[in-house]
Structure formats: structure tokens, C-alpha cells
């Protein structure tokens, strides 16, 4: 009797509990997931799916038109042992990252400090300085850049005032990459806005106290502004480094997709594009993409590991 009543009691409790559990999930979480659904479909279908597919393809000889055959690690082996263009493109991208990122950040910080002095018409200036970032990656600007740095372009017109006869910057193997670095630095808008927000967070009384103690502008910058801004510098450095590694459009437009003259603007991404869509070696291009991902990952991890030695969080 007792046993029976227990047996019959337990399912009754489950029955009572389970609808309310499901109802709770349905009422509390389902709407959230429902709202997330478009993003989830996009994330799994258009991001995660292709990423995993490209990992598989990187071990094949896929050529777009015929079905892929497994070739093991051949693509990776060829890349590191028998592909001078891989190293050439790696060098171009490294030079670009190493020079464009610090220059851009320095420039962005300088302009942000200038704008932080509470001048009139600040919103207008802020918008104007931000404009290049909106335009910079566009086709029109890349074409404009070709004109500005051409042999009879604006830059040489300016130099000729001082009697200097400049070369055709854009088509000269020594200078072409630098025109692209300048283009990248010019797009300083988004780190500038973030720096500006960071500068606003620094309490004014610190500067007042420092100037009472007789600290000059430079000392204030080094001892107050820079340390308190390091979290923002850190954030900007990581974002801009990743952006620089991924840079593609300017080089593609300015060199007509060739990376010329003499592969001097053959960015890693441009080489990847050529292999994939110029020569239809999707397998090899996928392998290139994974090496780039790993490289960006290593750079970012390195930044995070060293951050505890130079980034000061105010806590």
C-alpha cells in the first residue's frame, strides 16, 4: 500500500513539475532565442559553416569546378618550403602592419588631444576627421590615391614648388607600399574617436594637481595621460592590428589586383585572393587563410600576455 502510493505519487509530482519547467523556458528564454534566431542562422550558416568548410578545403586541391580531393598537409608544406610568393606577401603585410599601426595610433592620439581642448564646433571637426575612415576603404579613394601619387599628381605638383622632381610614387617598387601605409594612417578616425572618449574619462583635477606641483605639459602627458589611457591604447592597438592584417581593398584597386609593381604591394590577402580567384586554387587559398588566422591569433595572444606589464586599469 505504502509502496504503491509512493509509486503513484512520484509521477504525479513530475507531471506537475514538467509543464511548469517547459512553460518557464518557453516564457523566459524562447523569446530571447527567437529574437536571436536571425543572427544565429547567420552565424552558424554564413560564418561557422564556411570556416569549417575552408579548414577541410585547406587539405584538398579544390579548384572550384571539380570536386575536391584530399591531399593531406601538402598545401601547408608547399607554402613554407616551396613558395617564394608566400614569403614575399608575408613580408609586405608585416611591413604594412609594423609601420601603419603605430603611425596611425600616434596620429589618432595627437588629433584626439587637439580636439580634447574643448574648442568650439567640436562635433563638426570630429565628424570631419572621422570622414576618411568612412571613405578610406572605398574604391573611389583608392582611385583618387592613384591620381594623387601619380607622376603628374598632386604630391609631385606640390614638391615641384620646391624644385623637387618626384617619381611616380604609386608605380615605383620602392615607394608604392608607403603610399598604402599613408592611406591607412589617413583613416585614423575610429581610433581617434575612441581616444577622445578615453581622454574625457581622465579626471581634470589630476592635471590641476600636477600643474600646482609644477609639472609641465609633457610631464603631464607622460605621467598622467598616457598611463590612464593605456587600456584604450591596448584596445585600439589590437583592433587596428587585426584590421591591418586583413587590409585588402586599397592594394587590390591601386594595383589592379596584381600586387605590382614587382609584387611590392602583394598583400597577404591579395595573394590569397589571386590564388583563389585568379588561379582557382581554392584548397591552397584556404590553407593561406588559416595561416593568416593563426598569425593574427598569435599576435593578439601575445598582446594580451604582455598587457599586464604595461596596461594600467584604474582599480
Amino acid at each position: 500500500m505504502t509502496a504503491r502510493s509512493l509509486e503513484s505519487g512520484a509521477p504525479a509530482r513530475e507531471r506537475a513539475a514538467s509543464p511548469s519547467l517547459w512553460a518557464r523556458i518557453w516564457q523566459n528564454d524562447a523569446p530571447g532565442y527567437l529574437f536571436l534566431l536571425p543572427w544565429l542562422i547567420g552565424f552558424f550558416g554564413l560564418t561557422i559553416g564556411p570556416i569549417i568548410t575552408s579548414l577541410y578545403l585547406s587539405f584538398t586541391d579544390f579548384d572550384l569546378l571539380t570536386s575536391p580531393d584530399w591531399v593531406g598537409a601538402d598545401n601547408y608544406i608547399r607554402m613554407f618550403t616551396n613558395d617564394p610568393k608566400f614569403w614575399a606577401s608575408m613580408r609586405v603585410t608585416m611591413v604594412f602592419v609594423i609601420f601603419s599601426v603605430p603611425l596611425k595610433l600616434a596620429f589618432a592620439l595627437a588629433v584626439a588631444m587637439l580636439l580634447n581642448r574643448g574648442m568650439r564646433g567640436l562635433p563638426l571637426y570630429r565628424a570631419l576627421f572621422y570622414l576618411p575612415s568612412l571613405l578610406g576603404a572605398s574604391v573611389a579613394i583608392a582611385i583618387l590615391w592613384r591620381q594623387i601619387f601619380a607622376r603628374d599628381g598632386l604630391v609631385n605638383d606640390f614638391l615641384s614648388i620646391f624644385g623637387i622632381v618626384g617619381p611616380s610614387w604609386i608605380s615605383s617598387p620602392q615607394y608604392s607600399l608607403w603610399t598604402l601605409i599613408i592611406l591607412a594612417v589617413w583613416q585614423f578616425g575610429s581610433p581617434m574617436i575612441i581616444f577622445l572618449a578615453g581622454l574625457r574619462q581622465i579626471p581634470q583635477d589630476m592635471y590641476e594637481a600636477a600643474s600646482l606641483d609644477g609639472a609641465g605639459k609633457w610631464r603631464q602627458f607622460v605621467k598622467i595621460t598616457l598611463p590612464l589611457l593605456t587600456p584604450v591604447v591596448f584596445f585600439n592597438a589590437i583592433i587596428q592590428t587585426i584590421e591591418a592584417f586583413k587590409s585588402f581593398t586599397p592594394a587590390f584597386i591601386i594595383s589592379g589586383g596584381t600586387g605590382n609593381p614587382i609584387n611590392s604591394t602583394l598583400f597577404y590577402t591579395l595573394y590569397l585572393y589571386q590564388e583563389a580567384f585568379g588561379f582557382f586554387r581554392m584548397g591552397y587559398a584556404s590553407a593561406l587563410a588559416w595561416v593568416l588566422l593563426a598569425l593574427v591569433g598569435v599576435f593578439t595572444a601575445f598582446s594580451f600576455l604582455t598587457s599586464k606589464y604595461w596596461v594600467h586599469y584604474d582599480d
Binding site: S168, N263, Y273
Partner: protein
């Protein structure tokens, strides 16, 4: 009606990937009367092509959605569309790619339609032959053309020098070029653009020596010695001020607009006979054309009449018959022929050719006469190039010509390097 997407709109999509993605989500409504058409070329070609599609759809109903891109952007997009099973019904095809696409069934054989919707009664036999792969017809030639040197006649007049003719030689190129440079017209305009990285020009020069760019079994048809001689020849011309500096030549990234002829840096430029029309639309001065230079007086056989391009039908097309009917109209209809002129080459249908000839404007006339009167310049049609030819052209010949032109590599070094690397690329591809 005709819908069209031009190159600028395509570029706004900022990359072929994005555009291909966008194309991928468009429903492919391939019913009988609704066709998609894709081709490479400039605005002049697009205007003519859309003139014909408008004429066709006005008569037959339905719609043809056209899209055109520059050569460099065209092939990546077509390959992506083909891989996605979303290739346009009618595809402009090149001699270089037709074998590759045919062997992978990316384009369809059209033999079953011959005599039906595809009328080829008075079509040139050699042009028909050029569109065959393994005995089956995969491409309908849209016109015959030949390589040609484009001439800016006004510039020659200003310099007070006789423009070259079909009889001219490389020695004459140098002689005239030095005189041209001495005349110093238009802010230091040079007589010719740099041809050291122009594959058809190298091909033409080799053929006159009895050699070939590629053999019938897809091997390299020449050795390091020829390549060294080739680069040395152009180094000499560059040093003598006959051709443009490499820093100018490097600005030519493919589109007609960036070429030395259009930017006014040179008065001569190696090109193709049918392209005179496209170039003339962009240049104020009157253009003319002659053959590529001869090795020496009397040597010939470097040129050949080739199908300038084909229309092929996608293997995945759901309306192959309707698409073929349109292609047949495109090459056979007299009114269509009058709109098209010889911008894609000399019409292959005898009826169209005869009807069109008297109606042509001057630029079209020049192209027609040039191809009709090649004489002893004409040699045999070479076999289709191997699949890796495009890569050898883009990543080897053009880069090396720049390295030599900028003085970063010697002609001797470049010659040996070319042969080693080209052989490696050919081996890897086979």
C-alpha cells in the same frame, strides 16, 4: 526589357566575393524567355551588346539580363558563379579557358542544336573549328581578329614621322622610335608602350622564329636563350628612349583607360584588331593599326586569325535551347550585325559580313580591312594554350618584365628564371 549591371556597380560590392554572394541569393529564374548573359569588355562593347539584346527581346519577348566586367574581374566571378551552380545562361568565353570549362562540363556542347535553333550555314569553317573541344562544338565564335599595333596617327603627324605599316621591322621600331623621342612632342611622349610583358607580342616574335609559346602537348615551346634575347631587345629599346619608362608602364593595370595609349604616354601599343573600336571611343586622336613588327624585312607567319571570343552556354543552364537561339540570332542576324560592327572581331557569317561592311564607320572599316589583308603576316592557328598559361603570363612574364624594366633583375637572370619557373608551374598543373 534588358537589365544591366555595370562594372562600377559591381565594384561597389567591393569584392568579387561579396558580389558572388549577392548573386547567389538571387533567384535564378531561368525560364525559357528569361536569359542571363555575361561578358567582359568596356562601355562601347556593352552599348552594342545591349542594343542587340533590346532588339531581340522586342521581337521575341522575354528578357535578357546582361552583366559586364573588365577582363580581370570577369574570370573570378564566372568561376565562382559556375562553382555555385549559378552561371549565367550565355557566357562570353575565351580561347584560353574554353578547354578547361568544356572538360568540366561547365559549358554545354551545342551540336544537338545545329540545323535547329542554331544556324551555321554560311559560318566560316575555321572559326567554327576554333570553338570545338574534342570534336564537339562548345563555343560560337563572335568574330575573327588578330593581334595588331594600334597607332595614334595625330601624334605621328605632330612628330613629323611616317607611322609604321604592315612591313615594319624591329629595327625600324628602334629607328623611328629614336626620331620620335628626338621630336619630343606632348611632354615627352614615347613612340611605343613597353611590350616586354605582353604575352601575345612574345608569342608573335617566337612564331616568326619558327618557335611557339606552347607546344601542342602543353610544354614550353622555347628556351632561356630566347627569353634572354627578348628581354635584352626591350632593354635596348628602353635605353634608347623608344618605349615608355617602366614606372609609367606599371600604371597600366588592365582596363583600357589605364593603358599607355589612352593616357597619352605612347603613340603605339600592342593590342588586338577588334579593340581599335573600344580604344577609339576613349581617344580624341584618330587611331589606325598595323601588324606587329617583323623580325626582319620579309619574315612573317607571326599573326593568325583567331576567334576573338565565343559565346558558350552554361552546362547548368535550364534553357539551353532558348539561349542557343539567342546566340544564333547574335551571330546571324543582319540588323544585329550592323549594331555590333566588328567590335568583337570580323563577323563569321558571310551574309552578315557582306551586309555590314558598307555600313561600318571608319574605325570598324580599319579593323575589317586589317584582318582581311594580313597577307604573309598570317600563320597557322596555334593549339589552345595549357591551363596554367594564364598563371605564367600574370605571375611570371609580367612580373619579370617589371623586374627587368626597373633594373631589379638582369635580362640573363630573368631569362633563366622564367624557363625554370614556367616549367615548374606547367608540371604542377598537369
Amino acid at each position: 526589357m534588358t537589365n544591366r549591371i555595370d562594372r562600377r556597380q559591381f565594384l561597389m560590392g567591393s569584392s568579387a566575393l561579396v558580389a558572388a554572394g549577392a548573386a547567389g541569393v538571387m533567384p535564378s529564374w531561368a525560364q525559357d524567355a528569361n536569359l542571363r548573359l555575361t561578358f567582359w569588355g568596356g562601355q562601347a562593347r556593352a552599348d552594342r551588346t545591349y542594343g542587340v539584346t533590346d532588339l531581340y527581346t522586342a521581337a521575341k519577348g522575354g528578357s535578357i539580363e546582361g552583366e559586364f566586367l573588365a577582363w580581370n574581374d570577369y574570370w573570378p566571378k564566372l568561376a565562382t558563379q559556375t562553382a555555385g551552380g549559378n552561371a549565367p545562361d550565355v557566357i562570353q568565353m575565351d580561347y584560353r579557358y574554353i578547354v578547361e570549362y568544356a572538360k568540366r562540363n561547365a559549358i554545354a556542347p551545342l551540336d544537338e542544336f545545329i540545323g535547329g535553333v542554331l544556324k551555321l550555314d554560311d559560318f566560316d569553317a575555321d572559326q567554327l573549328e576554333g570553338g570545338k573541344v574534342d570534336g564537339k562544338l562548345y563555343g560560337i565564335s563572335l568574330g575573327a581578329n588578330s593581334v595588331a599595333t594600334l597607332i595614334n596617327t595625330a601624334a605621328f603627324e605632330e612628330a613629323g614621322i611616317e607611322p609604321p605599316t604592315n612591313a615594319w621591322t624591329y629595327a625600324e621600331l628602334r629607328e623611328k622610335g629614336e626620331a620620335f623621342a628626338a621630336a619630343n612632342i606632348r611632354n615627352g611622349m614615347k613612340m611605343m608602350s613597353d611590350g616586354s610583358g605582353v604575352e601575345p607580342m612574345l608569342d608573335n616574335w617566337l612564331r616568326q622564329k619558327g618557335l611557339a609559346l606552347y607546344t601542342a602537348d602543353g610544354k614550353l615551346g622555347f628556351g632561356a636563350d630566347e627569353m634572354v634575347e627578348w628581354f635584352t631587345l626591350w632593354n635596348g629599346l628602353r635605353d634608347a628612349g623608344v618605349i615608355v619608362l617602366m614606372e609609367d608602364q606599371a600604371l597600366d593595370t588592365g582596363p583600357l583607360e589605364s593603358s599607355m595609349l589612352v593616357t597619352g604616354k605612347s603613340a603605339l601599343m600592342p593590342s588586338n584588331s577588334n579593340q581599335l573600336v573600344g580604344f577609339q571611343a576613349l581617344v580624341q586622336d584618330k587611331l589606325d593599326m598595323c601588324g606587329y613588327p617583323r623580325l626582319e624585312a620579309g619574315s612573317g607567319g607571326g599573326h593568325y586569325r583567331k576567334p576573338s571570343m565565343f559565346f558558350s552556354i552554361a552546362g547548368s543552364s535550364a534553357s539551353k535551347e532558348a539561349a542557343t537561339e539567342f546566340v544564333s540570332y547574335f551571330v546571324n542576324d543582319v540588323e544585329a550585325g550592323k549594331i555590333l560592327g566588328v567590335e568583337r572581331g570580323i563577323p563569321c557569317s558571310a551574309t552578315v559580313r557582306d551586309a555590314v561592311a558598307p555600313t561600318l564607320d571608319e574605325a570598324n572599316q580599319i579593323a575589317l580591312n586589317f584582318v582581311a589583308n594580313l597577307g604573309d603576316l598570317l600563320g597557322a592557328l596555334p593549339p589552345p594554350p595549357p591551363a596554367a598559361a594564364g598563371e605564367i603570363d600574370i605571375s611570371l612574364l609580367r612580373t619579370l618584365s617589371q623586374e627587368v624594366g626597373f633594373g631589379a633583375r638582369s635580362a640573363e637572370d630573368a631569362g633563366a628564371y622564367f624557363v625554370t619557373e614556367a616549367t615548374a608551374i606547367l608540371d604542377r598543373a598537369s
